[in-house]
């Protein structure tokens, strides 16, 4: 069965979507990622969509679902590399991907994850409960 590979780097999972996904493949990715987060106790997930030529409402919803499921499993998600034409189209379509952290490229996305996870662990020591 066709699958999108998930790479592990320390406490983070990395995914690069390089194919024009049909809906089932997107659902498989959602399930696989959720399982891997729980298996390895991942603290962050980075999804690189720089090769995606379109993001329609289904793919947008899949990304939002992944981010929500990851959050429930105590992991942060960042979506990186969205093409400008895709961003323009998504907003016109009516989807602004609320609740999804984005970054321009893999590098800034990784920085975001390191920072967020570090902040979160620090705030846990203080006994503060913060959610963003």
């Amino acid at each position: 069965m066709e699958r999108i590979p998930i790479l592990r780097m320390g406490g983070f999972l990395l995914v690069t979507i390089q194919v024009d996904m049909h809906d089932k493949l997107a659902m498989t990715l959602q399930d696989d990622l959720t399982n891997r987060i729980s298996e390895v106790g991942a603290k962050g997930v980075l999804i690189d969509i720089s090769s995606l030529e379109i993001v329609d409402s289904f793919i947008g919803r899949t990304l939002a679902n992944i981010a929500s499921m990851a959050r429930v499993l105590d992991a942060q998600t960042v979506v990186v590399g969205m093409q400008p034409a895709v961003a323009i189209t998504l907003v016109e379509l009516g989807m602004s991907l609320p609740g999804i952290h984005t970054a321009l490229n893999v590098e800034t996305g990784m920085e975001f994850l390191h920072r967020t996870v570090a902040d979160y662990q620090e705030s846990e020591y203080d006994g503060d409960y913060t959610e963003d």
């Binding site: 089932k24 030529e53 947008g60 919803r61 989807m95």
Partner: protein, 136 residues
């Protein structure tokens, strides 16, 4: 909707991979017609939403691509045809947030915003035909 049809292509929609095929064919057409990258992305995204509707709500059908010529102006016309249950309330179906399957309810209204002209012909029990055009 005016203009003479210069060229047509029909793509059957029977499975999820056909939705991908529709996207690829529409991409090839819009690229050949020299739409800008943003316009191509909008048209392909609208085609993806409508093809999925044809599959999920119409039980499959077909997409018809047509090259329109209106004077000096060219446009791409996309028609999505199914023999499914039809849309009982078109106005409601076009409103954002309305969903019958488990989508986000942005398919119809969203694709209407991405195209220049948009028409729905539907009859309960007899299927749906959605025709939309984007002019260059």
């Amino acid at each position: 909707m005016t203009g003479t049809i210069q060229k047509t292509e029909s793509v059957p929609i029977k499975s999820g991979s056909d939705v991908v095929l529709v996207r690829q064919r529409v991409r090839a057409w819009t690229s050949e017609m020299k739409f800008s990258l943003v316009e191509q992305t909008k048209i392909v995204t609208a085609a993806s939403e409508l093809a999925r509707n044809t599959l999920e709500h119409g039980g499959g059908g077909e997409a018809q691509l047509a090259l329109l010529q209106n004077g000096a102006r060219q446009g791409i016309q996309l028609a999505f045809i199914d023999q499914g249950p039809g849309i009982p309330d078109v106005k409601l179906a076009l409103s954002d947030g309305y969903t019958t399957a488990n989508g986000m309810g942005l398919g119809l209204g969203g694709s209407k915003r991405l195209m220049n002209e948009f028409e729905i012909e539907t009859e309960p029990g007899h299927g749906t035909r959605i025709t939309c055009i984007r002019w260059k």
